[in-house]
């Protein structure tokens, strides 16, 4: 074997050795558990607290309102869309939920827009329809038709 090839081989072997050593010390735990990433990342991401607890949890204490809501047009709407996330309230009921009482809130969904399909959502003109009153004076938000 020519001398220059031998020298080059020594350099190569050294280089590969160092890289393998670095790989051993720098690869994080659980790497390649499922693929070319840290397997622990999955548990870290799923450990995050959920803020919306969903209607079934609210119904454990507010059963009459939940019952009322299932009979009205708003049955498909989660409590927390209107009242905000409930993860703190379910542990300590003194932490108040948001009570949306301005008309603008209802108009998020019910305002007139040609892009909203009429068959899916009934749309009204806020000023004309409510005549300056609050929506919830005439409609129960939990069951819009009483």
């Amino acid at each position: 074997m020519p001398l220059q090839v031998k020298r080059l081989l020594i350099v190569f072997v050294l280089f590969i050795g160092i890289m393998l050593g670095l790989k051993y010390f720098l690869t994080p735990e659980s790497w390649r558990e499922y693929g070319a990433y840290r397997g622990n990342a999955l548990t870290e991401i799923s450990d995050k607290e959920a803020k919306y607890v969903q209607t079934e949890t609210c119904a454990m204490c507010h059963d009459s309102i939940a019952e009322l809501k299932t009979q009205g047009a708003h049955k498909s709407i989660q409590c927390e869309i209107c009242h905000g996330p409930g993860y703190k309230h379910i542990d300590d009921e003194n932490i108040d939920m948001n009570i949306p009482d301005d008309n603008q809130f209802c108009m998020r969904c019910h305002s007139k827009n040609a892009a909203s399909p009429q068959s899916i959502i009934k749309q009204i003109d806020a000023v004309e329809h409510s005549e300056g009153e609050e929506c919830i004076n005439c409609h129960n938000p939990h069951q819009p038709w009483l």
């Binding site: 790497w31 070319a36 990342a41 919306y52 969903q54 709407i77 989660q78 927390e80 892009a115």
Partner: protein, 254 residues
């Protein structure tokens, strides 16, 4: 001075080089050196999440965009979105106007009077959780990956914030979280799925325009949705194998 010539025959050359090539293939089969493949759809029972969006049912209330921001601590300013709603308005003069005021959270207004509108509709957008996701392929450190369930996720403690993935996503679904300088994106609320809850945007939709489920289970909501409707994905020509299926998608949408 004469140079010593090694007189190797052609046969020797072919023999040596094919042995060398074969050796490399053999070594590459060793477990720790195995090549990197994308996550594959699990055969049999494993979950493989997909999403369905019914454009006919979207009323543009942006409850999904709001709920997502709250659930996932997404910065409140515009331009940081994991999911948002766009309003498409096509006028009688064939002009296409797209608007998305603060992702829809500020409320939609039609830009032209109703009698000038040829067609108008809302398109909710979010991460497509592609099976061949460009964003996970470009990550130089392996911080962007697909979970075994087919959800594209970011390992935030490993991300170096280089922003390659933000540029590579053809759907614009990633952003740099300014607080930590790392990338962030839709996780399909992985933390909620693992707890048996619905993703925040799915939960928040008042009309059931958003559907998700296991594509491997042919009885799941999303499988039934795809079966019963004529669905399309965004930018199919890019071959990203997007798993977000739109019903009634107009060709104007990009």
């Amino acid at each position: 001075m004469a140079i010593k010539k090694e007189n190797s025959s052609r046969r020797d050359f072919i023999k040596n080089s094919s042995m060398f090539a074969g050796g490399i293939v053999l070594v590459s089969l060793l477990n720790p050196l195995k090549m990197v493949y994308a996550t594959k759809k699990p055969k049999g029972k494993g979950k493989w999440y997909g999403i369905g969006i019914d454009i006919e049912k979207c009323i543009g209330c942006a409850s999904c965009a709001r709920a997502c921001k709250v659930e996932n601590d997404v910065p409140n300013e515009p331009f940081f979105f994991r999911n948002w709603v766009e309003q498409y308005t096509i006028t009688n003069d064939d002009e296409i106007k797209v608007s998305s005021p603060n992702g829809g959270i500020d409320g939609f207004k039609q830009p032209v009077p109703d009698d000038e509108i040829y067609k108008t509709f809302f398109v909710p957008k979010m991460c497509n959780h592609c099976a061949k996701s460009p964003c996970t392929q470009v990550c130089p450190v392996g911080a962007s990956f697909e979970s075994p369930e087919g959800i594209a996720l970011v390992d935030k403690s490993y991300c170096i914030g280089c922003g390659y993935c933000v540029q590579s996503c053809p759907y614009g679904c990633r952003y740099i979280d300014m607080e930590n300088g790392v990338v962030d994106k839709c996780t399909l609320c992985y933390h909620r799925l693992q707890k048996g809850l619905d993703p925040a945007c799915m939960m928040a939709c008042p009309t059931g325009a958003r559907i998700y489920g296991d594509l491997n289970d042919k009885e799941s909501a999303v499988s039934v949705f795809i079966k019963e409707n004529n669905c399309a994905v965004l930018k199919p020509q890019l071959n990203t194998e997007s798993k977000l299926f739109y019903n009634d998608l107009s060709q104007e949408v990009h």
